[in-house]
């Protein structure tokens, strides 16, 4: 049997794993970004308690390897009577991870907005709320877009860690197939290709956005 025919027969099974991977990545990004925005505001808040809490969540999320957080959620929390399905634990851990990373990117984006924009808003008498949501955020998020897309790619690849808690995602599916007839080389190459087929165009789009941003500033 050649590699191509083997791949053709593995692919349908692998696709269901890819679906799970994309689902976990999608959920962790969908909840991670808004949470990241909240964290970025907490980290720059005047209130010390709010700032400390924000910093702790961000620094743990970025400082601890995603796999450690994943294990803590799946194996650790049941100690306190909190038990999750493996896929839920994976989503929670990766959401924390993506929120922590995206919060730093958003904070940098928001801080890059020129001071004059705030002064103009103040001089016009715009409320703080309108100033943030209509003036600062649209501009800050624009410059954060390439970084945030990078986080999304990182999250997608990070879903392979969920293999460690037996989530039936792409990596786990590939491993299961491989352990049936020991074609590990073929199946992991195919799995790698699946990750690449998603990640590489996403990277190209990110680079395209980066270039477009650079042209406008």
């Amino acid at each position: 049997m050649t590699w191509l025919t083997e791949w053709a027969c593995y692919l349908p099974q692998l696709m269901s794993g890819l679906g799970v991977s994309l689902l976990i990545a999608g959920i962790s990004i969908f909840f991670g970004y808004p949470l990241g925005l909240v964290l970025s505001l907490m980290v720059t808040a005047k209130n010390l308690a709010v700032r400390t809490l924000g910093l702790a969540v961000v620094e743990i999320g970025r400082g601890a390897p995603a796999l450690v957080i994943l294990y803590l959620f799946y194996y650790g929390l049941p100690k306190f009577g909190i038990a999750f399905e493996s896929i839920t634990a994976a989503c929670l851990a990766l959401t924390w991870n993506s929120a922590a990373y995206s919060s730093e990117i958003m904070r940098a984006g928001l801080q890059s907005v020129a001071r004059g924009q705030l002064e103009a808003s103040n001089a016009l008498g715009l409320s703080q709320r309108d100033t943030f949501f209509r003036v600062v955020m649209p501009q800050g998020m624009r410059s954060a877009i390439p970084g945030l897309m990078g986080v999304a790619i990182q999250m997608f690849q990070g879903t392979s860690l969920a293999y460690g808690i037996a989530v039936p995602e792409l990596m786990k599916t590939a491993y299961n197939i491989g352990s049936q007839d020991f074609n590990y080389l073929q199946i992991f190459t195919l799995a790698g290709l699946c990750y690449a087929v998603i990640s590489m165009p996403a990277t190209w789009i990110t680079v395209f956005f980066e270039k477009r941003m650079a042209r406008h500033t």
Binding site: A114, G116, Q117, E119, A120, N122, A123, L124, G125, L126, S127, D130, R134, V135, P138, Q139, R142, H216
Partner: protein, 261 residues
Amino acid sequence: MTLSEIADGKLAPRLGIKLDNISKRYGEHTVLDDVSLHVEPGTVTALIGPSGAGKSTFLRCINLLERPDSGTIQVDQHTIEPGKDVNSRDLAALRRTVGMVFQSFNLFPHMSALKNISFPQQKVLGRSKEEADERSRQLLERVGLKEKADQHPGKCSGGQQQRIAIARALALDPAIMLFDEPTSALDPEVGLEVLAVMRELAADGMTMIVVTHEMQFARDVSDTLVVMADCKIIEQGDPRAIMSDPQEARTRRFLRAVLER
């Protein structure tokens, strides 16, 4: 009685600006040392002086972009003592009365020219989108930029951006306009378009305070010339009189530097 009628001066007489004993320090460093200035309604005051004299800081104290440490600010109907707590309603009322134009324009880059002018009207004055857009188009026409309504600021020249910024400030019907070196970031020729709009505004009776290095404008347009140096006002009065016969040695030195170059 609507707010815009008050702002248009139809109901209440204009009161101008009274700034008394304004002081501002950054740590040990004094920026404004007990400065007082009274501006009659409908007049133009030009604020000149060497860099670091405190001109811009003083101007920015008027709408509390800088918070003075002490003193009293009376703008039109509003009195504020910035040394004490200023509640947000007084602050909003003050800022609604005062329009400001910046050296770096500070237009919102993600909005079209029209949106730049309409958005604050909708949010601050509660005008409907139609009302606001109509007023914005009038103002764009007045500053000679009717055809730029749908352009974003990035597609406009510096002079055009500054004129849009002036329209944006005027759209809120301010009683007083502050200009912080409005032409300093512009090529001399482009600056002329902005000065032309400002001359027109002055001729229409707008109360204006202008921090500027444009001596010609200061001499021809302003009613009062105020010279600041070393955190203080050192001389003020009729612009022609001061320019031809300054009383203070420091004023003489400064004028020689800007007029005889």
